[in-house]
Amino acid sequence: MQFMLLFSRQGKLRLQKWYVPLSDKEKKKITRELVQTVLARKPKMCSFLEWRDLKIVYKRYASLYFCCAIEDQDNELITLEIIHRYVELLDKYFGSVCELDIIFNFEKAYFILDEFVLGGEAQETSKKNVLKAIEQADLLFETTTLHYCTKFKSNK
């Protein structure tokens, strides 16, 4: 995956994760164009489109569009599953997630994504394990400095 964007039906960006180095200006341009293109798609159209030299996989969940850019050799159908898995994770974490959750807790949305995807590839295929990791990381309270957290030192 080269990048993932989450945006609303009005085109407001809710999350942007880039796995390729691009300048801020380029990111803004890409975001603007892609959002426009995806929002212009009719409901009957398929979830894939070609854009520049990338394949774009997108799916709408309620008021949010989840949009991934993948490379030529990547499997579009499994990317749809990746998107779906991410939505499931958010749903489990927030309990019936809605757009507002992601707006007000955007940093958590990023943390969850970062436990699921690393460098553009899925790092963990078990839903349970991703959620467990997030849960445990969340437990490292703000006031607790880390040299007290030896009980979280891992074993397999």
Partner: protein, 794 residues
């Protein structure tokens, strides 16, 4: 200073803004507060402030002043600080800014932290945006973590390694030892990321690929276990066990099995098993099948397996889910050349996809349809494709029209059918037809001798209906000009001949000249057509009148044509019949082989390869033939070729050269050079079989009392010409005009330009070498006069 407001509160506040301006004001106020807080080096609230900054950054506001603060957060001992700090680094920093290098040390420390979640943050950040320098510095740490027994870290290290390798490919070797036991892991996360790592390494290095081929049996076993094992709640997705891992393994198998018989054989069974046993009711099953099909097609699989794969794609085409249909069409497009017959079986389904609502599906279906057209199905396919052409979006029309022309040319069952098909395209999509189709079509029509009457009649009728589509109008004008006599004499055999008078025809053509819909090019066609009718119709006076009117046209091209046609009437009337006579059948130039459909990624047209004429054979010495180079180059004589190109680059070129039919022996010889007793005369002929080449024979004579020995004649022409110099009769020009040296020059003049030549003469006279350069500009106009007015094509 009051405590900075909390993140959620800020978000709430900003969302209450009713206008963009109001929002901007709030943001600016908050940014100012944050800036002062940063300046105060406030450790307690730094995390909160950066988080707010990240929110504002997402709204599109600048946040670069927070970059250093992120670094400070990363260096903090608190986990929450680090978490936000690393997030900020990933969002605000990128490898272009030097500042990111300051992270390296922090990341290094955190990679060795006692808490795995901190290590995880470091690995994640490095794997997401690490620059090459950072990767170089930290690769060792990553490699260490790749060997840890902690699966939480191991899986992250694997993907981090992938990133390192992408950034610094030379470091790949370093990770090789650590990969040894990766596949013996039970943990699916580690397995998945290990397969990704192995894939990356195999894709980048043929050595790695060879090395890892031995893993095929192990991969096959893992895949088998996934399929055969019972329900595993942890990895189940709609009844399928860990589809993500299955897909990645299939992809790695594809790479390992490609061009390797043994590996391909080892995976045959498992591929067949996956292909037949995977549940297809949900997307996830189809995702696996899709990957399986791709793998089967890429490796050296046995034919039964390949047919199975194509049939899976065929079933996909019937799936209700348009995503599946799309993916099927894309894959079929990739395989249509290699497994043509298998794909043919699904032709009717593919053709149905032309009616799909989705633009991407339609495009793929169109490309695939053209790839499937052959001599057997041409009639049926063409019907569907023409129907598609009628109803499709404008963005498709040009490509579809070109595709139809190509297919028709290759497989037309009869000339009549061919002409009808062309007519259909011109009338329905005439404005979208590519410009170069016009000369191609004209050539086609010319060569279908028995269809001339039918063609011109149909074109004429089409013109009566609609003169807005320029390519149609151009082809029609040309045909009427050429075959107008057949039109008025009502000779059509194929259908009921229409009754039309000469005046009616001329009315139509004149109508084109005055219509606002006609482009200048079209007007040129129309005028030329009218002119040609002067030898075919009897109403010459009317034609003369029209032609003379346009002698003062504002359009320079039209004006020139009209003036020259006038001249033709007045001064060269004896030449007119010959000049305007019927075009001969043109030799067909080689077309390219089967239609190449190039798999495109963007929404661009498929590169439907059109009938290209072979490029003119350029002689290497042509560079030296540049007039300016003559001084420098010694050897200006071009390579003598035994075969000249039989056809010039554009069909237009040869059609333009009507003069080719004339014998030019009527052109008087000329003296090209006369100095110091050396006289060089040029005489002219036309070459057969190629009328575009002028054959000039030089005759060198010497009026001095001493021989000129070692006589070398060299010539150079402007770049738009091509020159061939044959061997001279001798290199001694005898004294006192006792004999001449002759040499033949063949000049190809594609662009009908005035011929100019620079010549260089070297010889020895009375013991001393003589060298001279001269320009020859006095070529008689009849030989090379640019005659666009007789250009019948554009």
């Amino acid at each position: 200073m009051p405590a900075p407001i909390r993140l959620r509160e800020l978000i709430r506040t900003i969302r209450t803004a009713r206008t963009q301006a109001e929002e901007r004001e709030m943001i600016q106020k908050e940014c100012a507060a944050i800036r002062s807080s940063f300046r105060e080096e406030d450790n307690t609230y730094r995390c909160r402030n950066v988080a707010k900054l990240l929110y504002m950054h997402m709204l599109g506001y600048p946040a670069h002043f927070g970059q250093l603060e992120c670094l400070k957060l990363i260096a903090s001992q608190k986990f929450t600080d680090k978490r936000i700090g690393y997030l900020g680094a990933m969002l605000l920093l990128d490898e272009r800014q030097d500042v990111h290098l300051l992270m390296t040390n922090c990341i290094k420390n955190d990679l060795n932290h006692s808490t795995q979640y901190v290590q995880g943050l470091a690995l994640c950040t490095l794997g997401c945006m690490g620059s090459s320098e950072m990767c170089r510095d930290l690769a060792g740490e990553v490699e260490k973590l790749l060997k840890t027994s902690n699966s939480y870290l191991r899986k992250k290290a694997a993907l981090c390694a992938v990133h390192v390798i992408r950034k610094v490919p030379e470091l790949m070797e370093m990770f090789l030892p650590a990969t040894k036991n990766l596949l013996s892991e039970k943990n699916h996360g580690v397995l998945h990321t290990s397969v990704v790592l192995l894939t990356e390494m195999c894709e980048r290095s043929p050595d790695m690929l060879a090395h890892f081929r031995k893993l095929v049996p192990q991969l096959v076993r893992i895949l088998k276990n996934l399929i055969m094992s019972g329900y595993s709640p942890e990895h189940d997705v709609s009844g399928i066990s860990d589809p993500f891992l299955q897909v990645r393994i299939l992809r790695l198998l594809r790479i390992l099995g490609k061009s390797d018989d043994d590996s391909s054989e080892a995976m045959n069974d498992i591929l067949a098993q996956v292909a037949t046993n995977t549940e297809t009711s949900k997307n996830v099953g189809n995702a696996i099948l899709y990957e399986t099909v791709l793998t089967i097609m890429d490796i050296k699989s046995e034919s039964g397996l390949r047919v199975l794969a194509i049939n899976i794609l065929g079933r996909f085409l019937l799936n209700n889910d348009k995503n599946i249909r799309y993916v099927a069409l894309t894959s079929l497009l990739k395989t249509v050349q290699t497994d043509h017959n298998a794909v043919q079986r699904h032709r009717s389904t593919i053709v149905d996809c032309l009616k799909d609502l989705d633009v991407s599906i339609k495009r793929r279906a169109m490309e695939l349809s053209f790839a499937l057209v052959n001599g057997n199905n041409i009639r049926g396919m063409m019907k569907e494709l023409l129907y598609f052409l009628d109803s499709c979006d404008p963005e498709f029309k040009a490509d579809c029209a070109s595709g139809v022309f190509l297919a028709a040319e290759k497989y037309a069952p009869s000339k009549r059918w061919h002409i009808d098909t062309i007519m259909r395209v011109l009338t329905t999509a005439g404005s979208y037809v590519r410009d170069d189709s016009v000369p191609n079509l004209i050539q086609l029509i010319t060569n279908s001798v028995e269809m001339h009457a039918y063609t011109v009649q149909r074109l004429y009728k089409a013109l009566l209906d609609d003169i807005s589509q320029q390519p149609l109008v151009q082809v029609a004008s040309w045909c009427i000009g050429e075959y107008g006599d057949l039109l008025v004499s009502g000779q059509c055999e194929e259908e009921e001949p229409i009754q039309v008078t000469e005046d009616e025809v001329l009315d139509v053509l004149e109508g084109l000249l005055v219509s606002n819909l006609s482009t200048p090019v079209t007007r040129g066609y129309a005028l030329t057509a009218i002119m040609k009718l002067s030898t075919r119709f009897s109403s010459v006076n009317r034609i003369k009148k029209v032609v003379s009117i346009y002698g003062s046209s504002i359009d320079v091209e039209l004006q020139q044509r009209a003036v020259e046609y006038n001249a033709l009437f007045k001064k060269y009337d004896h030449m007119r019949p010959a000049l305007l006579e019927r075009m001969p059948i043109m030799e067909k130039t080689a077309t390219n082989g089967p239609t190449e459909i190039v798999q495109t990624n963007g929404e661009t047209e498929p590169s439907v390869v059109e009938a290209k004429h072979p490029p003119p054979v350029t002689q290497p010495a042509n560079q030296a033939n540049d007039l300016l180079d003559l001084l420098g180059g010694n050897d200006v004589v071009p390579v003598i070729q035994t075969t000249m190109p039989t056809k010039p680059a554009s069909a237009g070129g040869e059609l333009l050269d009507l003069l080719g039919d004339l014998s030019l022996s009527g052109i008087p010889p000329m003296t090209a050079y006369s100095k110091n007793g050396l006289k060089i005369d040029f005489t002219f002929e036309r070459a057969n079989p190629n009328p575009n080449i002028a054959v000039i024979t030089i005759h060198a004579s010497n009026s001095t009392e001493a021989d000129m020995t070692d006589f070398v004649f060299q010539a150079a022409v402007p770049k738009t010409f091509q020159l061939q110099l044959l061997s001279p009769s001798s290199n001694v020009v005898p004294a006192l005009n006792q004999g001449t040296v002759t040499q033949v020059i063949r000049v190809l003049n594609l662009q009908k330009q005035q011929l100019r030549m620079r010549i260089k003469l070297t010889y020895t006279h009375k013991g001393s070498p003589v060298q001279d350069l001269a320009e020859v500009n006095n070529f008689p106009p009849q030989s090379w006069h640019a005659h666009p007015s007789l250009g019948l094509i554009g």
